[in-house]
């Protein structure tokens, strides 16, 4: 009798923990929203929500690629530098029109992703180190191509950065479309299945005859391409190319969004909905602190605490 009760108590606690891991991020977003509705003046306005959504879009797009990389038990530290490279390429090729320039920028991201993927898949380098090398090199390359900040004066670009459809900015639409696309790929496509199988156990996936190397390369190419898209969109919004500072610490924000969203660092699971909510949570947290006049130092410390707490909460599931 007592044993049964104890067992049920343990089960309930286990289930509670699992619920917290899976839906904690949504609860966090809801709590922050409620707090802001109650205590932050001028929070509940369409203008504010637009601003928040536009700010979160680039982080979200980068986080989507990061979620794929983390799903294979890897990580992509080069995303911030890829954004910088994309903005440099964009402003260099803007003379050929915004579409060509954006295409060149994305191709740059694809090439960096290809290098990452080749190092990880064919040479067998750890993802942290491979993408670290590309992180240093790509930032350097971006600065070599465009040594300092440059204004981007192009009607097409500024339309992309500040235009909207029925009140929803293009940036947000693009981010939402990409999130849906990635969620579909992860859940419904063969590629998504293969990706998760590789993240679960690479040797088992290889023995099962999956194209491990090809999938890994495609994952890092996707991550690079998505980061480049984020770089293009961020440039369009700022109407300036700043290869020195664009995308610095972006890898950290993206990893935070993915981890807070409930994707384990040990691979084998990808939660796109959670990643979106994770990116929103970080954005809301920053906004809340800023709107209540707390200095940036607090934001950074709060973000550090959130990361550790999220990873700590996810650790049981990660081990299983």
């Amino acid at each position: 009798m007592t044993e049964l009760a104890v067992a049920r108590g343990a089960l309930d606690r286990g289930r509670l923990l699992r619920l917290a891991q899976q839906y904690g991020v949504y609860a966090g977003v809801a709590a922050l929203l409620l707090f802001n509705f109650a205590f932050t003046p001028h929070f509940a306005s369409a203008e504010n929500f637009r601003t928040q959504a536009v700010q979160v879009a680039p982080v979200l797009i980068v986080a989507l690629g990061m979620a794929l990389a983390i799903g294979t038990e890897g990580v992509d530290l080069s995303v911030g530098s890829v954004m910088a490279l994309a903005t440099s390429l964009l402003s260099l090729y803007l003379g050929y029109g915004p579409w060509v320039a954006a295409l060149v920028a994305v191709v740059g991201g694809v090439l960096v992703g290809l290098a990452n993927g080749a190092l990880v898949a064919f040479v067998g380098v750890q993802p942290i180190v491979a993408t670290l090398a590309l992180m240093v090199a790509a930032r350097g390359l971006a600065l070599v191509l465009l040594p300092q900040l440059k204004d981007v004066r192009d009607p097409g670009m500024s339309a992309l950065g500040s235009g909207d459809v029925l009140g929803v900015p293009y940036l947000v639409l693009i981010a939402a479309a990409l999130a849906l696309l990635v969620a579909f790929v992860v859940r419904r496509s063969t590629f998504g299945r293969q990706l998760l199988a590789i993240g679960d156990s690479r040797p088992a996936a290889r023995l099962a005859g999956l194209p491990v190397r090809r999938v890994l390369i495609v994952v890092y190419v996707c991550s690079g391409a998505l980061a480049a898209v984020a770089g293009v969109l961020a440039t369009a919004r700022l109407t300036a190319s700043d290869p020195t500072s664009l995308g610095t610490l972006m890898e950290l924000s993206a990893i935070t969004a993915v981890v807070v969203g409930g994707t384990p660092l040990s691979g084998g699971r990808v939660r796109i909905g959670g990643t979106v909510a994770g990116a929103v949570l970080i954005q809301l947290l920053t906004t809340t602190l800023v709107k209540h006049d707390l200095p940036p130092s607090w934001t950074q410390m709060a973000q550090a605490v959130v990361i550790v707490a999220a990873v700590y909460a996810a650790r049981e599931r990660g081990k299983r």
């Binding site: 380098v125 090398a133 090199a137 610095t248 940036p296 130092s297 410390m301 973000q303 605490v305």
Partner: protein, 343 residues
């Protein structure tokens, strides 16, 4: 000396191969180990010969002294990183801790040298301790914990300096300033301190029980635990050490610059990791040596110096070269060192 490392680094594999198939594979193993250990040193000597032949200004006393001084601070950080990487971990917080250590030292120098040294050591050591506890006791991934610490430490730095707008100055005539600016026998004090720390670090890693535990934990954590090595305590110790070294390097740097510059240290963790890896330490853990990291730091600084001397080249090229160089070294290491592990 060399055999000591090899034995400690990869005991099981080497012995197994040698006993199993004598001759060929054993020799290949030894050759690849040799290339791993001395590849960086040979490259450094080559780079220095080429540089001194190409630029008259390279082999002058001033230039060498500048290079030694600017290497010293990175070298101290890389020393702590070596211990962490040999256990199979990584510490991304060192850049922020370096900056934080410098600011705290500069602030503390108004209360005397003891405070200026002890305050950064205490704070940075504490952050390293927290890293170690989270990694060892809670089993969290090192890179994410130290990434968070990097952010947190940067936050503390901003909080201490009015959001980065205040720069604390060190009194030029104080004893603390001579720790950075003074020189002994024509060589700067930071260089002497660095050399002393490296000798100490090499002895500890090679000859002490703690050093053997560090190798054991990095080689195979489960096996180390079964052998009775205090795995958790060793891990906590290396992250604490890494924090202490980063704080000390920051303090010395502040003494050298006679101010606590707030914007320092970003990207330093990458430089330190690059130096350690270029020096031949394996990122998978269990194999590595302190002297290699020193060579790695010097090699990075020589590359930097050469690129600075070629006036027409942008300093951004240095990042491209460092990144490409790191990639080449890692690829070479993977092919040389653990071809057998991948199979």
């Amino acid at each position: 000396m060399t055999t000591g490392t090899t034995e400690a680094g990869m005991p099981a594999d080497t012995v197994h191969l040698d006993a199993d198939e004598q001759g060929g594979p054993g020799r290949a193993e030894r050759l690849s180990a040799l290339a791993q250990q001395h590849g960086a040193l040979v490259t450094l000597l080559l780079a220095m010969v080429v540089a001194s032949l190409s630029f008259d200004t390279f082999l002058t006393g001033d230039n060498l002294e500048n290079m030694a001084l600017s290497s010293a601070f990175l070298a101290v950080v890389a020393l702590g990183m070596t211990f962490v990487i040999v256990t199979g971990g990584i510490d991304l917080s060192v850049g922020s801790l370096f900056a934080l250590g410098g600011v705290l030292a500069a602030w503390g120098s108004q209360y005397g040298t003891a405070v200026a040294l002890l305050l950064p050591l205490a704070v940075c050591g504490l952050i390293g301790l927290v890293n170690g506890l989270l990694i060892a006791r809670s089993g969290l991934a090192p890179f994410i914990v130290t990434l968070a610490a990097m952010l947190g430490a940067r936050g503390i730095l901003l909080a201490v300096t009015d959001e980065g707008s205040r720069t604390y100055l060190v009194d030029k005539d104080s004893f603390f300033a001579t720790l950075g600016q003074g020189s002994l026998l024509g060589i700067g004090v930071p260089v002497w301190i660095t050399v002393a720390l490296f000798v100490l670090g090499a002895v500890v890693l090679r000859r002490s029980r703690f050093g053997q535990y560090v190798y054991a934990v990095g080689g195979n954590e489960d096996a180390a635990a079964l052998m009775g090595a205090p795995v958790a305590r060793t891990k906590i110790a290396v992250y604490t050490l890494s924090g202490l070294y980063a704080g000390l390097a920051g303090a010395l740097n502040a003494a050298w610059l006679v101010s606590g510059v707030t914007i320092l240290g970003s990207g330093m963790e990458l430089e330190a990791i690059s130096a350690v890896v270029i020096g031949g330490t394996l990122l998978t853990g269990g194999f590595g040596f302190v002297s290699g990291s020193l060579v790695g730091v010097l090699l990075l600084k020589v590359i930097q110096n050469v690129i600075n001397q070629i006036g027409s080249l942008d300093s951004a090229y240095q990042q491209v070269v460092s990144g490409a160089f790191l990639a080449v070294v890692v690829v070479a290491q993977t092919w040389l060192g653990h071809r057998r592990r991948m199979l």
